[in-house]
Amino acid sequence: MDMSSEAAVVDACSHCDLHIEKHLPGDKIVALAGNPNVGKSTVFNGLTGLKQHTGNWPGKTVVNAQGRYRYKDRNFIMVDIPGTYSLMANSTEEEIARDFICFGEPDVVVVVADATCLERNLNLVLQAMEITDKVVLCVNLMDEAKKKKIRIDFNALSSRLGIPVVGTSARSGVGLDALMDAVSRITGAGVHLSPLRIAYGEGIERAVSTLEPAVKNVLHRRINSRWATLRLLDGDESLLSSLNDYLGYDILEQGQIAERLSEARAVLKRSGISQNLFRDQVVTQIVRTCESLGREAVTVEDKQYQARDRRIDKFLTSKLTGIPVMILMLFGIFWITITGANVPSSLLADGLFALIDPLNRFFAWISAPAWLSGLLVDGVYKTLAWVVSVMLPPMAIFFPLFTLLEDLGYLPRVAFNLDNFFRKANAHGKQALTMCMGFGCNACGVIGCRIIDSPRERLIAILTNNFVPCNGRFPTLIAIITMFFAGTVGGAFSSVTSTLMLTGVIVLGVAATLFTSKLLSKTILKGVPSSFQLELPPYRRPQIGKVIVRSILDRTLLVLRRAVIVAAPAGLIIWLLANIQAGGVSLLARCAGFLDSFARLMGLDGYILMAFILGLPANEVVIPILIMSYMATGSLTDFESLSQLHTLFLSHGWTWLTAVCAMLFSLMHWPCGTTLLTIKKETQSVKWMLVSFAIPTAAGIVVCMIVANAVRLFGLV
């Protein structure tokens, strides 16, 4: 092996697109595994100093994140893998987890377990121990366990399991040093552990001893032969294909494997063990071992420790209160967002637009040509200023609030409440969770659909995720509502009206999602809903201060980054389009004119539709594009506030109907460029990407046309 210090890239796991970069050949790879929602990402962040987002719901981590840390002068590369209950995988994310532990050749596997339900978590620990000897058990959430008066005997656990066991409270950093120490110790040279081996009873053990020698010959110690033998006997297809990919050959065609396998199967048959029974016995034996370990090492002093959670759950999910409370909560968050965003938004606008005059004077002073100052000030700077002042405040308020609910553990309850609707739409209950992710960013929502194990339902969730307004559309909706609907009522009620409208739009988005899901299930994605399980985790008190600071900072940085990367170039292009004349008319006006008659059928105008089309790279820029188009053709020379903007829009013939249709189309049109590319990647198909483009677009066109023509027909506008 090359001992130079050049970076060596190890293609650890071809299935999960994971490339691990070792700085030194001696760097150790640490796989961080665990059941969903046990604080794995918190442990990861605590050790690596990275800021993977954490949340109190199962399935938060769907992609392998990696980070590095140093301990006692050695480098460790930590890979955070998706949460899984078992290594006998059912879903894509479980497959990713399994494949990394099995075939990613980690030097050590740290299994993070929840101290408040350790027994159940031990299942994964025992399964990991069958694959590799180098396992460390990290019993996390010790602070929660203490509150619930659960005591854990680490010594007993460690000596029964035969592996190091460390207790941690990763949120406050307690125990992480001990964890690093344990990892460091067992990755040292010459350390051998002999973890607990589970015996599966006479019939299975005899079958194993029939097959294992042949397997051992073929595997050359690349994988634990006992474990591989058990999986071969189990006949897990998905594992077999991953195994063959890893080995580079079909194991069944090697040596005497096929022959011995049928002999071993015959042994099982003679003992009366069918394929079903085999899996039953294996799982039963593991679960019984967990039970006995639990009895030995865990003491629950207060059996009523979950009573408070039960009471909260009953309130949040009952027939009478469940859904009303949910809508009230949504309403509350929107109300705080809208009311709270007003003042900072106008302050930011005042500040940023006050710089326009000095900027123009500066360009005049250096005698820059008019087109240059137009391009940079009217094009780039104004678009940037708009995006920052209008997008930033609502996002910086909405996200901390949403994150608080998330950390508290409320999102799985939302999925629980809404599951009936999704089941009736022949869709998956966890689609509610992927929709919640869509609020932040539809591309993230699409990736999040990996938590859905049925391919059909996952596809439905991916294709409909865009009906949830993301980061880039949400403030657009708020701006339009504030301009056109809040003002008409006035006074204290104006923010209530705005909030009601916004809630209505979101509920409409949910309805569109359900309707489309049902439609897809009845047409191109026929099928019945698959069974699923959803864990309702214990409530956890969010670290309020930390969440607020963190998510405000994150959102601010995100919005600013997007503003620079997307809004600034968009501003430049639009300014050019609006100012390059062809035959006395600007290019923009030409295109808008071309679209105008069709757009009017939808209650919009050519410029609005044009703005949506040019907004394909990012939804944030739709309104700035519109402003610039109007300003290039209109009399108004500047805009500083929403009320001025309102005047600008009115002067271009906007009515309340235009506003409604623009909102509807914002909710229902093609996904942004990033989301489309993500969909292509996630579905591995251009076809589905095109479908995901067509569905919301068609829905938007149809809905806008119906609304616009109905309103006109009844003479309401």
């Binding site: 159940r120 599951d419 089941r423 809903p529 959803l534």
Partner: protein, 82 residues
Amino acid sequence: MKNRELPLNQLPVGKRARVTSLASEGATRRRILDLGIINGTEIEPLYKSPSGNPVAYLIRGTVIALRSDLSSKIMVSEDSAA
């Protein structure tokens, strides 16, 4: 009534019961097993969702919501001790 076998989805909220058998095969059965549900496991329905389906169950100290298609495959009998 003691030791009467019934599907889990028919067990009333608040009643504790033990699993007696799994009436399914293949993927569904695996899914149930992965939840640590085997013969003898104690399960208690905690509360229903607003529509009555799914139902949240207490299984090995964890609250897990199951739709009735899955819970109807889990046969239980009420704890005689309870």
